[in-house]
């Protein structure tokens, strides 16, 4: 018998008995807890509060200049990179007006699949403003939120340089921009757009393209340029990422 640990502790229990007890109790506790959670407690439903802010875009007015994209990445990271922008303007250089452009902004969905998909709470609704945003420190890089976004291209991006998911936070967290952002503040894309083709609203838009794609052309200014101020007669296809016109 090689086991030399038979020393009784003060209470008369050997160390071996003690660890056996701890192990057994631990297993029991975890399994028991699982049972309780699975069968006795009701499924917990977490209501995610609505975002208090939204971006609206007018892709007829968009100049496709990508100013919003560069400003977005610079404001958040101090680096210019369209790939790190949370708004993605995709245009087909050989497309035809007005369906050559898509301004792919995050919609701050009322039932956000990206938040649901996050296993660690990194992708969450801001407790103060409801803005769906990502805490990079909590992100484990599983990309579930990136894939959960129902829109194409995904409004949640994998930031492959800093290794975390990212999405529009309405500029709540812009360490490289002096202005106050977020719901009560400014958004760099709205500020920088030369055509005012992006706007911010606190009202929940209608949950279709029509709610998020709006007409931001004011008659007096844009009409004087001979620009179509009404969408009537314009054959606007549903907002989709334009392909390279390969025909």
């Amino acid at each position: 018998m090689a086991d030399n640990d038979t020393t009784a502790t003060g209470s008369g229990v050997t160390r071996r008995q003690f660890v056996t007890g701890v192990g057994g109790a631990g297993v029991g506790l975890v399994l028991g807890g699982l049972l309780v959670k699975g069968f006795i407690l009701p499924d917990h439903v977490v209501a995610i509060p609505a975002s208090e802010g939204y971006l609206l875009v007018d892709r007829v007015k968009c100049a496709t200049c990508a100013s919003c994209m560069l400003a977005c990445s610079v404001a958040h990271y101090g680096r210019a990179n369209p790939s790190l922008s949370r708004i993605q303007v995709a245009n087909d250089p050989f497309g035809l007006f007005p369906n050559d452009v898509a301004q792919n902004q995050c919609r701050q969905c009322p039932y956000p699949p990206c938040v649901d998909a996050c296993p660690t709470g990194a992708n969450h609704a801001d407790p103060e403003t409801g803005v769906r945003m990502i805490d990079p420190a909590k992100c484990i890089g599983c990309e579930r939120c990136v894939h959960a976004c129902p829109f194409t291209p995904s409004r949640v991006q994998w930031n492959f340089e800093d290794k975390h998911a990212q999405k529009c936070d309405l500029c709540k967290d812009t360490p490289y921009w002096d202005e106050e952002g977020g719901v009560g503040g400014k958004q760099i894309c709205v500020q920088v757009c030369p055509h005012n083709a992006i706007s911010f609203t606190k009202d929940i838009p209608v949950q279709t393209d029509a709610g998020y794609l709006v007409n931001l052309r004011r008659d007096d200014a844009w009409g004087s340029l001979g620009f179509p101020v009404s969408d009537d007669g314009m054959e606007l296809s549903p907002q989709a990422a334009p392909a390279a016109s390969g025909h």
Binding site: N4, V22, V30, T120, R144, H147, K163
Partner: protein, 256 residues
């Protein structure tokens, strides 16, 4: 099941696994090394189980962890399915690793002697110099009377121990983050720590595999990790100190 993450759906396994390890230790009966004719029992069954569950767990955790690595390498896997698969691999071996490691840890608690024999002694520097100096061809050196574990192994053990502790603590925090809201500031420290510990672990792991499995001189010991036994002849040559101990005599150092 494209997006199923076991870390998420089967988190409980991570919690139960250490306790299983503890429980197993409590239920195990250990045997000390003993000379049986021309062979010596070096590793009893629990030792072999803990070694391989811990070791294989570590290997796959390193592979999957490095593939997924957040901070120290570009991820080797592509996005989406690739990540989920590797995360699940990581999960599976977390369970294996934790079982093995806690099994071992508890064993050690139960027999502190086993722990002590892993710790370097004041001979560490001298023995290691002689041991590897000789291997490198410095003929005038004499082989030191190493104990059950070489002094060099013992030093590496400290590194392994430290990195394992950090990896487990940070890893458990990372798992906990799947269930409870852990402050971002904590996670901002946790994840890089986990990664740094991984680098240390990797260094140990590679060195260990090299010295314990690649070098031909270590093959008898490697074999003993499967069979439990080494030949007496081998022990006398490589582990003179250990033999002396097993035979109950004074350790004699030819250089001393």
């Amino acid at each position: 099941m494209a997006e199923t993450l076991w870390f998420d759906s089967a988190t409980w396994l991570v919690w139960v696994s250490p306790f299983l390890g503890v429980l197993a230790a409590g239920l195990s009966r250990r045997r000390d090394p003993v000379i049986e004719g021309d062979r010596i029992l070096r590793h009893d069954v629990p030792a072999r189980i803990t070694h391989w569950t811990h070791g294989i767990g570590t290997m796959f955790l390193l592979i999957s962890g490095i593939a997924l690595g957040l901070f120290f390498t570009p991820a080797l896997v592509s996005g989406g399915q690739g990540i989920w698969t590797w995360m699940n691999v990581h999960f599976a071996f977390v369970v294996v690793f934790l079982f093995g490691t806690f099994y071992y840890g508890t064993n050690t608690l139960l027999a502190t002697k086993r722990f002590r024999e892993h710790l370097p002694t004041r001979n560490a520097v001298d023995y290691t110099k002689r041991h590897y100096g000789l291997l490198l061809g410095f003929k005038k050196l004499t082989f030191p009377p190493e104990a059950k574990y070489f002094e060099s192994e013992k030093m590496a053990y400290i590194l392994a121990l430290a990195s394992t502790v950090v990896i487990i603590l940070t890893g458990l925090l990372k798992v906990a983050a799947h269930a409870v809201d852990i402050p971002a500031g904590v996670m901002a420290v946790t994840t890089p720590l986990h990664d740094i510990a991984t680098v240390a672990m990797l260094a140990f792991f590679l060195a260990h595999v090299f010295f314990a499995a690649v070098l031909p001189m270590s093959w008898p010991v490697l074999l003993s990790m499967f069979t439990g036994y080494v030949s007496k002849e081998h022990a006398e040559h490589e582990h003179a100190g250990w033999m002396a101990e097993l035979e109950g005599r004074e350790i004699t150092d030819s250089a001393g």
